[in-house]
C-alpha cells in the first residue's frame, strides 16, 4: 500500500524539534512540548505498526519518482517492529528525562537533540535507500555526539573522543562501501541493488563490499574487536541518555546489518563462518568484561556487547528460525536494556553512586522499587516465563539443529555469565548491608516532589509491563517475529513491494 502515513512519526519528531528550538532555554515549556510530541509520535508508531501488519508492507516513493530513481520509504514487518520499539522507548525515556536530567542540560537543547536522534533512528528503520540510510545514520550519530558531550567532564571527554573517532571512521567505511556498491550496480535503491547485484560477474568485489558494510555496521553495533569505544563511553553519560544509547543505538547497527545481509548480499560460506566466529568472540569478550567490573553501568555496557553477539550469531546461522530468534531477542533486548539503564539512574538518585562496593540494603529501604528492579533483572537473564527466555531457547535450539556446537556452548556460557553477573548485582545492590552508614543527605530521591518521582518510576513500570507482556504473550511476539523472518528470507517480497508500487 502506498501511503504518506509512513513518514508521520518522523515528521512529528521533526516538528517537535523545530518547536523546541523556538523555546530555547525555557525549561518547563521544553519538557511539556517534548512529552506531548513523544506521545503523539508513540500513537502514530503504534498505528504504523498496525497498518503494516494488516497490509504486509507500506511503501512511499518520495517526490513521486518511480522506484529506482527516487528515495523509497518502506515499512515491512521488521521495520515496523523497530519503529514500534523506538516509539515505546522514546516515550519512556522522554518522560524519564524530564525528571532525571539536570536543568542546565535541558537548557542546552537536550530535548531538541533527543528528538532529532529519535527522528534519525525512525528514518534509518524506514528508509529503502542505501544512501538515505547513511544520511539517517549521520543524523543519529551527530545527535548522539551532542548528547554525549554536553556538560563535558574529563571522563566524558575521554569516552567521547573514542566514540566520535570510531563513529566517524565507521561512517567513512560505510560511505566507501556505498560508493563501491554504486560503482558496480549503478543504483542506490536497496531493492534495485538486490536485483542488479545478482548480475555482477566479479563476485570477489561483491564479497569485499559486503565485508566493508560488515565492518562499518560492526563498529556501530560494537562487535569484537571494534567494541572498545562502547564500554568506555556509555557509562559516562547520564542514565536517560545511556538508556537511549544502550537500548536503540547499537541495535540500529544490527538492524542495518540484518537488512543488508538479507536483501542485498547473500553471505557465502566464508562470510557466515566469519559471522559465527565474530559472534562467539563478541559474546566471550563481553561476558568476560563484566566479571571484574564494579561500576554497574560499565557492567551493563559489557552486557550490551555480549548480547550483540547473540544477534550476530543469528545472522551467521542464516536460517529462518535463527532470524525469528534474533528478532524476538531484539524486541526483548531494546526494552530491557533501556529499562536497566533507567533503573541505574534511580539507584544513583537514591545512593549517589553506581559502584557496587558502595551500594547496599536497597531492598530494606525501597522494597517496592527493588521488586520492580528484580523483575527487570530477571527478564534480562531469561528466567522462564520472562521475556529473555524464549528467544534464547530458540537460538540454542537452532544452533543445536545446525550442528554448531561451539556456538551452542558459547551461547550457554554467555547466558550463565549473564545470570551470574545479574545475581551478583542483585546481591550487592539490594541485598547486602550498606557498607557505609547512610545519611539523609545522600538520598536525592526521597525529597523529590511527587511529580518528579512519578516521572522517574512510571517509565520503568511502563517498560517492565511491556517486557512482561513479551514474556507472557510470547506466542504473539513469536508470530510477528516469524513473519518478519519469513520476509527476510524471501527477499522477493521486499523487492516486489518496492519495485511494483509505482504510483
Amino acid at each position: 500500500m502506498t501511503t504518506n502515513f509512513i513518514l508521520a512519526p518522523i515528521i512529528v519528531h521533526f516538528i517537535t524539534a523545530i518547536i523546541l528550538l523556538c523555546f530555547w532555554k525555557k525549561v518547563l515549556a521544553q519538557k511539556i512540548i517534548s512529552v506531548i510530541g513523544n506521545s503523539i509520535a508513540f500513537i502514530l508508531c503504534v498505528k504504523l505498526f498496525e497498518l503494516t501488519l494488516t497490509n504486509d508492507y507500506l511503501v512511499l516513493q518520495t517526490g513521486n519518482w518511480k522506484a529506482p530513481f527516487g528515495i523509497t520509504f518502506i515499512s515491512d514487518t521488521l521495520s515496523a517492529i523497530m519503529v514500534l520499539l523506538t516509539g515505546i522507548v522514546s516515550l519512556a525515556v522522554g518522560i524519564y528525562s524530564t525528571s532525571a536530567l539536570n536543568v542546565s542540560r535541558i537548557r542546552f537543547g537536550y530535548f531538541f537533540t533527543f528528538h532529532l536522534l529519535i527522528m534519525g533512528l525512525l528514518g534509518a528503520f524506514l528508509t529503502g535507500d542505501i544512501f538515505n540510510l547513511y544520511v539517517w545514520f549521520e543524523v543519529v550519530i551527530i545527535s548522539s555526539f551532542i548528547l554525549m558531550t554536553v556538560g563535558g567532564k574529563k571522563m566524558q571527554m575521554e569516552g567521547a573522543i573514542k566514540y566520535v573517532t570510531m563513529n566517524i571512521l565507521a561512517s567513512s567505511i560505510f560511505l566507501t562501501a556505498i560508493g563501491i556498491l554504486y560503482g558496480i550496480t549503478g543504483s542506490l535503491n536497496i531493492a534495485d541493488i538486490a536485483l542488479k547485484i545478482q548480475e555482477v560477474e566479479n563476485k570477489g568485489l561483491v564479497t569485499v563490499t559486503s565485508l566493508l558494510f560488515f565492518v562499518g555496521f560492526g563498529i556501530k553495533s560494537a562487535i569484537f574487536p571494534l567494541y572498545f569505544w562502547l564500554p568506555s563511553s556509555y557509562h559516562t553519560t547520564p542514565s536517560a541518555i545511556a538508556a537511549i544509547f544502550g537500548g536503540l543505538l547499537t541495535k540500529m547497527g544490527v538492524y542495518a546489518m540484518i537488512r543488508v545481509f538479507t536483501i542485498i548480499f547473500v553471505p557465502d560460506n566464508f562470510t557466515t563462518i566469519l559471522f559465527i566466529v565474530i559472534a562467539v568472540l563478541t559474546m566471550l569478550t563481553g561476558a568476560l568484561g563484566t566479571l571484574n567490573k564494579k561500576n554497574i553501568r560499565r557492567i551493563l555496557s559489557y552486557l550490551i556487547v555480549c548480547h550483540i553477539g547473540y544477534l550476530i550469531a543469528g545472522v551467521g546461522l542464516y536460517t529462518e528460525l535463527a532470524f525469528t530468534a534474533i528478532i524476538f531477542y531484539l524486541i526483548h533486548d531494546v526494552i530491557v536494556k533501556s529499562n536497566m539503564f533507567m533503573i541505574t539512574g534511580v539507584i544513583v538518585k537514591i545512593r549517589e553512586s553506581v559502584d557496587m562496593t558502595r551500594l547496599g540494603s536497597l531492598l530494606k529501604d525501597y522494597p517496592k522499587f527493588s521488586m520492580l528492579a528484580a523483575l527487570v533483572f530477571l527478564s534480562l537473564v531469561g528466567i522462564p516465563p520472562l521475556s529473555g527466555f524464549w528467544p534464547k531457547i530458540l537460538l540454542l535450539k537452532e544452533s543445536f539443529v545446525q550442528g554448531n556446537y561451539v556456538l551452542l556452548l558459547t551461547l550457554i556460557l554467555a547466558s550463565f555469565v549473564t545470570l551470574f553477573v545479574i545475581i551478583r548485582m542483585w546481591i550487592e545492590i539490594f541485598w547486602k548491608e550498606s557498607p557505609k552508614p547512610l545519611t539523609e543527605e545522600m538520598d536525592h530521591f526521597a525529597p523529590m516532589p511527587k511529580s518528579g518521582k512519578f516521572a522517574l518510576i512510571a517509565p520503568i513500570v511502563f517498560l517492565t509491563v511491556v517486557s512482561l507482556f513479551i514474556g507472557f504473550g510470547a506466542n504473539s511476539i513469536f508470530k510477528i517475529s516469524e513473519k518478519a523472518a519469513y520476509e527476510l528470507k524471501h527477499k522477493e517480497i521486499y523487492i516486489d513491494a518496492v519495485m511494483k508500487t509505482n504510483t
Binding site: F131, V135, E138, I142, F145, I146, T149, G152, K153, K154, M155, M157, E158, G159, A160, I161, V164, T165, I168, L169, S171, S172, L175, T176, I178, G179, I180, Y182, G183, L188, F228, S232, T236, N292, K293, K294
Partner: protein
Amino acid sequence: MELLLVILVGVLYSSGIYMMLRRSMVKLLIGIILLGNGVNILIFLMSGITKGKAPIIPADQTGFMGAYADPIPQALILTAIVISFALTAFALVLLKKAYTLTGTDDLDSLNIQDLDI
C-alpha cells in the same frame, strides 16, 4: 586521469588512517578530514569519469542528447561534504574542549578509565 585519481584516493586513505593512528589530537582531526576527502573522490571515481554536458534537459528537447555526466555521485558528494563539514566542526570543538580540560595533546593520556577495573 582515472589512474591519477585512483592513486590520489589511495594516498588520501592511507595518510588519513595513518594520521588517525598517531597520538596527537590535531593529527587525529587531520586524519578524519583526509579520510573524508578520500571517500568523496572515491565516489566521484566510481561513477566513471565521462566528458559530457551537465545532466539538464534543454527546454526544447524531451530527452538527453549525447554524453552527459552522471548527476547522482555529485549529489552524493555534496551531501557527504556537508555532513563531513558538520562532523569536522564538531570534532574541532570537542578536541579543543578536551584540550582545555586535560591540558595535553596526547591521546594516550586519555586512557584512565580502561585502567580501572
